[in-house]
Symmetry: C2
């Protein structure tokens, strides 16, 4: 009998679990939101992940349930746990990936380095925060944001009036999250794998380059990151994984400030775009590691296989029908590039694939990865 | 639109094409012999590969047809080609993987180094061959043998009397293949990828260790293989791929003789057990390379990523239900080992998985790979 993992959500993160599942001999099944999604090869059910009966029925034939995204509602997660299903990460951990206000409060309790922040219930409270932070602030909806959505930089409280109005109509009520606008040198990401029985492995901290709020490029490990910075990032990642009881992969998005501190920006409790480099650059890819972790198997080696690995996202994608020509041209011009596509229809700004290049020369790897990805733009 | 590859045969070779297909964004479909086979995740049809209508229907929705095995009959292959289907390798090449007598004759024309051989039509002819070769010979049925089946070492012509009797009843008639029993130091395998437009890439020659006629271990590259030997093996591989018009992966099994020659033993025109090391040890795995080659995409880098990669087959497999415990124990004791299982029911002698270990120290890699594989025996 094979080990069986069920993934809720049919996007590219679920898709990229297929390869290591097949290689390990793990039976992967996927509950997809609709037909034809990126992970369609492993889809065994199509339905609404907000419906407890749908999710319970899907979970019946697997050993552990995990996720392609963090959007499964808490009552559904609790119903799974109550039914005796192994759920990794569990609801108590996922809560902090689902609600940024709860996350900020819990990280504060854990003593983690963070931007200044506050829960603001109306435009006046936000204005106070703005006034206290040099006339600017980042405002975030605590729930439902991703890839820059639900995030706004404001210089006055009224600029979030529409979000406060929406909050007032929401039966759950609540507040927005205000954060200081951090003067950062660059963005980093720290990934950590943790299994239910406690073993933790940290990947090297990487540099992430965002464009329009979306991850564009990743360099692993982060260039010019000395031991002090790398150790600090790994310590923060491990402390959060342990403090929040995360099981599976955790990604901690970090700011490196101009005064050489690191501050926690966001959390994701699943494989993450910042870790795609590991497919071709680490001893164990984040997707294999996630499967091992949620199955409570011994974790694999996260160390880089080469000095540098560069990952460049393909956003938008080529025109209909052009894929084969692009493939041939990109592979021919950039033989060192590993090309990954997600089987998604192209749409402006949509993540449809990525390219990795590993090597001993960072400049060459960056050039090759960007140039190969450009064939698909 | 994704590129679409259809594989005839649902065994582990088809299964191991799934991971690179998913990563590249190639849509893989499989025509399996029965339900529940190793490649079941990608199975889109179940049926008899000897039936032209079944195979033609399967081929309708793919860009190219390729194979998990060499057993599709020539009339079915010709029907595909006549229907305009791209078939790689094509029938003209596959013929030489299907019939060992035709293979020997063609390799002789190409001037390839071979054991002495002859087509023998009856026990008397075989006896003559035995007498001329030190009183011993290897006899092979030209068609249908694998993993040591259809191969017999004899010291007299009558020892193959049953096979000659079967031949006499076969409407196709024909002869058996007699070969000299080669005094070899060890066995090697040379893999080559070739695409329809002509590009050829050779993998490093590897050492293969057989037990009871079945591949047990592979060391890549072959230890103590100097440039002369490695170049000779690569030249033979490339010459055969080009001479026979092979498209996709070709494996050439070789004897290294005690007098330092190499002689061609067998051919396989598909990914091959001797190349499983490449999944974790080469710039491009043989499974990705096969997909690239049959799609006529530029070939990837076949160079090893580390000094040594060792592959050990798991034969038989663990008792029912024991897989998860074995996994955890093997991974914990041998963290450097990459464990692959095929989702097959255990049966004595059956190939159900393999383990690879890559590293700078050959002794360590051999030890780790054998010890990790032993957990599953």
């Amino acid at each position: 009998m094979s080990l069986r993992v069920g993934v809720i959500g049919g996007g590219q993160l679920a898709r990229m679990m297929i390869a290591p599942a097949v290689e390990l001999g793990v039976e992967l099944s996927v509950l997809a939101e609709q037909e034809g999604m990126s992970a369609r090869l492993a889809v065994t059910a199509v339905g609404d992940y907000r419906d407890a009966d749908t999710v319970l029925a899907f979970a019946r034939d697997v050993d552990v349930v995990t996720f392609d995204h963090e959007h499964v509602p808490q009552p559904v997660l609790r119903a799974l746990v109550d039914a005796g299903v192994a759920v990794h990460p569990g609801p108590d951990a996922l809560l902090y990936a689902q609600d940024k206000l709860l996350m900020r409060a819990r990280l504060a309790e854990l003593g983690m380095p963070q931007p200044d922040w506050a829960a603001v219930g109306d435009a006046d409270e936000l204005q106070e925060f703005v006034d206290a932070h040099g006339g600017r602030a980042v405002v975030k909806t605590p729930r439902g944001g991703y890839d820059g959505k639900g995030v706004r930089v404001v210089t006055s409280g009224v600029e979030a009036a529409d979000w406060f109005a929406a909050l007032a109509e929401d039966a759950r009520g609540g507040a927005l999250l205000a954060e200081e606008l951090v003067d950062f040198r660059r963005e980093l990401a720290q990934q950590v794998a943790r299994r239910p029985s406690g073993e933790v492995r940290a990947y090297p901290v990487v540099e992430t380059v965002q464009r329009d709020g979306v991850c564009a490029e990743v360099i692993a490990p982060a260039p010019a990151a000395g031991d002090r910075l790398a150790d600090a990032a790994a310590r923060v990642g491990v402390a959060i994984a342990e403090g929040l009881g995360v099981t599976g992969m955790l990604a901690v998005e970090l700011f490196e400030t101009t005064d050489e501190r690191i501050l926690v920006n966001e959390l994701a409790m699943r494989p993450h775009n910042s870790g795609h480099w590991s497919q071709d650059g680490a001893g164990t890819s984040q997707f294999e590691q996630h499967l091992r972790a949620v199955l409570d198997l011994p974790l694999g080696d996260p160390a880089p296989r080469q000095l540098w690995t560069v990952m460049v996202n393909v956003l938008g994608g080529p025109a209909e029908g052009a894929l084969d020509e692009r493939f041939a041209a990109a592979m021919s011009a950039h033989p060192a590039a590993k090309i990954h596509t997600y089987g998604k229809d192209p749409r402006p700004g949509r993540k449809v694939g990525h390219v990795t290049v590993a090597g001993d020369e960072l400049d060459d790897a960056v050039y090759d990865a960007r140039a190969a990805a450009a064939f698909f733009a």
